[in-house]
C-alpha cells in the first residue's frame, strides 16, 4: 500500500512522520512525500506532534539527526524521500555503517544537500545587516530589523547564533519564508514577509562604506576570489556592495599613481628619548 505523507516542510514534522512510518515498517518505495506548503490542498494536513516520545526500539545516531535537520531545510523536492530511505536502511535495513560511507549514493546526496544548507546558514550569519529602528522606551533596549533572502529554509537553524550574539538588543530578521524576532526572553517565529516591511538603510551604512573603501587594497585586485566567497546573489542586501564596481574600476589608476609617485627620501631620526635608548641598545648588541 502506498502512503502519502503530506507534511509541512520542517525537520520536526518530517521526523515525527518518519518515526510513525518506520514504526509501521513502511518501506521507502511505498511512501509519497508531499510538501504541504507547495500544494493547494491542506486536507491531509495533520497536526505535528512534536512531543511524541522517541520510540525506544528505533534508535538513530545523533549524527543522522544533525544531517536530517540540514537536509530538511533544503528545497529539493526529493529530500524527504531520500532521507527516509536513508533512515530505513540505517535502521530496519540493518546498514549500521551507512553514516561512515560518504561514497554511498544516498549519503552522498544528503551530504551535498546538508553542506549547501550549512553554507547558506554561515552566509546568513555573515551577511545579515541590522538596521536601527528605535529604542524600546520602557527598558531602553535598542531595536533592530534586518531583511535577508536565504537560499533555503534556514531561519530556524540560523536564529540561535543571533540570539547568543545579540541577546542584549531587540531584533527581528525578516525573510520571505519565515521571520524571527528576539525580545530578550525568547525567539518568536512568524510567517514570511516582504522586503518592504524592513527599513531600507541605516545611518551607519555610510561610515561602513567608508571603512570598506579604505580597507581595500587596489594593488591586489582579486575579483573572482571575492565573488566565490560573496556571490552576487547576496549583494542586493549588502550596503557595501554599492561601491564594489567603483572600487574595481578605479583601482588601476590608483596603482599607476602609486608607482609613479617619486620615492620619499629617508628622514633622520627625531630627537626622542625612547628612540635614543633603542638605537643605543641595537648598537650594543
Amino acid at each position: 500500500m502506498t502512503h502519502t505523507a503530506q507534511i509541512q516542510p520542517t525537520f520536526e514534522v518530517w521526523r515525527s512522520k518518519a518515526r510513525e512510518l518506520l514504526r509501521q515498517g513502511v518501506t521507502p518505495e511505498n511512501v509519497d512525500w508531499v510538501d504541504a506548503s507547495q500544494t493547494a490542498s491542506l486536507l491531509a494536513e495533520e497536526p505535528a506532534n512534536y512531543q511524541t516520545a522517541p520510540n525506544a526500539s528505533v534508535k538513530v545516531p545523533a549524527d543522522f539527526l544533525r544531517l536530517a535537520q540540514n537536509v530538511c531545510a533544503h528545497t529539493d523536492e526529493r529530500r524527504f524521500a531520500i532521507l527516509y530511505r536513508l533512515l530505513h536502511r540505517l535502521t530496519l535495513g540493518g546498514e549500521k555503517h551507512l553514516l561512515g560511507m560518504p561514497s554511498d549514493r544516498d549519503m552522498h546526496q544528503c551530504n551535498a544537500w546538508a553542506k549547501a544548507v550549512s553554507r547558506d546558514i554561515h552566509k546568513m550569519h555573515a551577511f545579515v545587516r541590522f538596521r536601527l529602528v528605535g529604542v524600546n522606551e520602557p527598558n531602553g533596549r535598542e531595536q533592530f530589523v534586518a531583511w535577508f533572502e536565504p537560499e533555503y529554509r534556514i531561519t530556524r537553524l540560523a536564529a540561535p547564533f543571533f540570539e547568543k550574539r545579540f541577546a542584549s538588543m531587540d531584533w527581528s530578521i525578516l525573510t520571505p519564508d519565515e521571520c524571527v524576532s528576539w525580545d530578550g526572553e525568547k525567539l518568536t517565529f512568524m510567517p514570511g514577509m516582504s522586503r518592504h516591511d524592513a527599513p531600507a538603510a541605516d545611518a551607519h551604512d555610510d561610515l561602513w562604506r567608508t571603512y570598506y573603501r579604505s580597507i581595500f587594497n587596489p594593488a591586489r585586485l582579486k575579483v573572482q576570489a571575492m565573488q566565490s566567497e560573496m556571490p552576487m546573489k547576496y549583494w542586493k542586501n549588502l550596503p557595501e556592495a554599492e561601491i564594489i564596481h567603483d572600487l574595481i574600476a578605479s583601482s588601476e589608476t590608483r596603482v599607476r599613481t602609486m608607482i609613479a609617485t617619486p620615492e620619499r627620501p629617508v628622514k633622520p631620526s627625531p630627537d626622542n628619548a625612547y628612540l635614543r635608548k633603542l638605537h643605543a641598545q641595537q648598537h650594543a648588541d
Partner: protein, 435 residues
C-alpha cells in the same frame, strides 16, 4: 578632523596587515542579557573586498603617527601621509556601532608608535579595557603588541584580548637592519616567548578549573587563546626557504596559531629602499600552501625546499612539486596506504583522506568513489592505485610529467588589470591556505 576622515586614514593605514582571523577564541556569549557579542568556533567573514580579502574585524590603527621608519610601511616617519588619531572612546563607539549592525565580529587594533612603546601600548589597552569592562563587549578583540613594551603591559593586553600578535615582519635581522632599523628579532622572539608562557599558564588554569566547575559561562578568557604574526614577502631578497624556516621555528618554539605571509604591495608613499615591482601574488599563495603542508600534512621545510632549490615553484603547488621530485614513493595504493602516505598524494586533502580511511573499511575504493568525493582525478591518477586503476608507469617515469601538470600558457608576472584566471577552488585556497 571629522570621524569619517579619521576612519578613512586609519583604516587605510591598517590594511597592509593581512591577518583578519577571528577564529579560535574561547566560547563566550551575551545570553545573560548584560553584554554584547559572542565568540567561539569558526570565524565569520562578514564581507569581502575586491582584493579577495575577508572582512571580519574592524581593523584600524589608533594613530598612524609613528617614530619608526619601516620602509615597507606607509606610516613610517619618512612618509608624507596625512596623520590622524582616534581617541579611545571613538574606537570603542565605532566598534560597538558596527558590531550591533552585524558588519563585523570584533576589533583588530594596532597603532603607530608614539612617544614610547609603553605609552603606545597603554593607549591600545585602554580601548580594550573600555570595551570589556564598561560595555561588557564579548566580541573578538585582537591587539597588536609592541615587542619592546613591558611584560606587565603585554600581560594586561592579553587579559582583554582573544588574540595578540607581534609582527616579525622580515625573516632575518639583516633584512630588518636595512628595512626596519628600529626592529629587533631577538626582542620580538623574547616577547613571543613571554606571551606563549602566559597562554600556556592560562590554559592549564582553565583545565584545572574545568575539573571543579562544569561550564563557566560567558566569562572572558583569563588570557588570549592564541598569538600570530606576519612576515612581509618580496620587500627584501630572502628566499622562501629562509621565510619558511623562520615560520617553522616560530610554530615550534612559541606555538603560533598562524603566520601570515603578506606579499609586499606598492604603497602610496614609496621608499627609496624598496623594489618598485611587487612580487607575484602567487608567491604568497604558494607560501600559504607550503605552510599548510608543514602544519597539517607532516612535511618538513627541507623536503619542500631542498638546499639546491630554496624557492617554491610558482607554477606548481608545493605538494605536487615534492611528488615530482620523489616519484619513487608512487604509486600509492589508496586502499592500503597509511594516513601519512595518503596525505602525500597530490590532490588529496586531509578531509578526503579521512573520508577514504572511513569508506575503505567497508569496500575497496574505485575511481568513481573518489569522483563522488570531488577529488580531482586528473591530478591524482598518475600517483595512485585504486581497485580499478593503475597508472601508466611510463607517465610516472616520464620527464614530461611536469609538463602534464603545468597550467596552460599564461603570463606569470601577474599584472594589475588582468589577474590570471583562477578557479574558485584556487581562490578559496588562497584565502584559507588550505590545499
Amino acid at each position: 578632523m571629522d570621524l569619517t576622515r579619521k576612519l578613512e586614514i586609519l583604516a587605510d593605514a591598517a590594511k597592509y596587515d593581512a591577518s583578519c582571523a577571528s577564529s579560535g577564541a574561547a566560547r563566550k556569549d551575551s545570553r545573560d542579557g548584560k553584554g554584547l557579542g559572542s565568540t567561539g568556533g569558526m570565524g565569520i567573514c562578514h564581507s569581502y573586498t575586491p582584493d579577495g580579502r575577508c572582512v571580519s574585524l574592524l581593523k584600524v590603527l589608533l594613530t598612524n603617527a609613528c617614530l619608526y621608519d619601516c620602509h615597507y610601511c606607509i606610516n613610517r616617519r619618512s612618509s608624507n601621509v596625512q596623520r590622524a588619531r582616534f581617541t579611545p572612546e571613538e574606537v570603542v563607539q565605532l566598534t560597538l556601532d558596527f558590531y550591533k549592525r552585524n558588519y563585523i565580529e570584533g576589533l583588530f587594533l594596532s597603532s603607530g608608535i608614539v612617544r614610547s612603546a609603553d605609552h603606545t601600548m597603554e593607549q591600545v589597552i585602554e580601548v580594550a579595557r573600555q570595551l570589556r569592562e564598561v560595555h561588557h563587549f564579548r566580541g573578538y578583540i585582537h591587539l597588536k603588541t609592541i615587542p619592546e613594551a613591558s611584560q606587565a603591559l603585554i600581560d594586561k593586553a592579553g587579559r582583554y584580548a582573544d588574540r595578540i600578535s607581534i609582527n616579525i615582519e622580515l625573516p632575518s635581522q639583516q633584512s630588518l637592519d636595512r628595512l626596519a632599523p628600529e626592529k629587533n628579532l631577538t626582542n620580538t622572539k623574547q616577547a613571543m616567548h613571554g606571551i606563549r608562557q602566559r597562554i600556556d599558564e592560562s590554559l592549564e588554569a582553565k583545565q584545572a578549573a574545568r575539573q571543579i566547575v562544569n561550564r563557566p559561562r560567558a566569562k572572558a578568557p583569563a588570557f588570549a587563546t592564541g598569538q600570530s604574526t606576519q612576515m612581509i614577502v618580496g620587500a627584501d631578497d630572502s628566499s622562501d626557504a629562509l621565510v619558511l624556516h623562520r615560520a617553522d621555528e616560530l610554530y615550534r618554539e612559541v606555538r603560533l596559531r598562524r603566520v601570515y605571509y603578506s606579499g609586499f604591495s606598492p604603497i602610496p608613499e614609496p621608499s627609496v629602499l624598496l623594489p618598485i615591482k611587487p612580487p607575484p601574488l602567487v608567491r604568497e599563495h604558494r607560501l600559504y600552501q607550503a605552510d599548510w603542508l608543514l602544519r597539517f600534512y607532516g612535511f618538513d621545510v627541507g623536503e619542500l625546499l631542498p638546499k639546491e632549490d630554496p624557492n617554491l615553484d610558482l607554477d606548481l603547488d608545493p605538494k605536487l612539486a615534492w611528488a615530482l621530485r620523489n616519484r619513487a614513493v608512487f604509486p600509492v595504493d589508496i586502499n592500503r596506504a597509511s594516513q601519512e602516505l595518503l596525505w602525500r598524494i597530490p590532490g588529496l586533502g586531509t578531509v578526503n583522506v579521512a573520508r577514504i580511511l572511513a569508506a575503505r573499511r567497508w569496500s575497496r575504493l574505485t575511481l568513481a568513489d573518489l569522483q563522488r568525493m570531488r577529488v580531482n582525478l586528473k591530478k591524482v591518477m598518475p600517483f595512485i592505485l585504486a581497485a580499478d586503476h593503475r597508472p601508466r608507469l611510463a607517465l610516472l617515469e616520464s620527464t614530461n610529467l611536469r609538463q602534464h601538470f603545468l597550467p596552460g600558457p599564461r603570463q606569470l608576472e601577474l599584472n594589475f588589470n588582468a589577474p590570471p584566471p583562477t578557479t574558485p577552488a584556487d581562490a578559496a585556497m588562497a584565502l584559507s591556505g588550505q590545499i
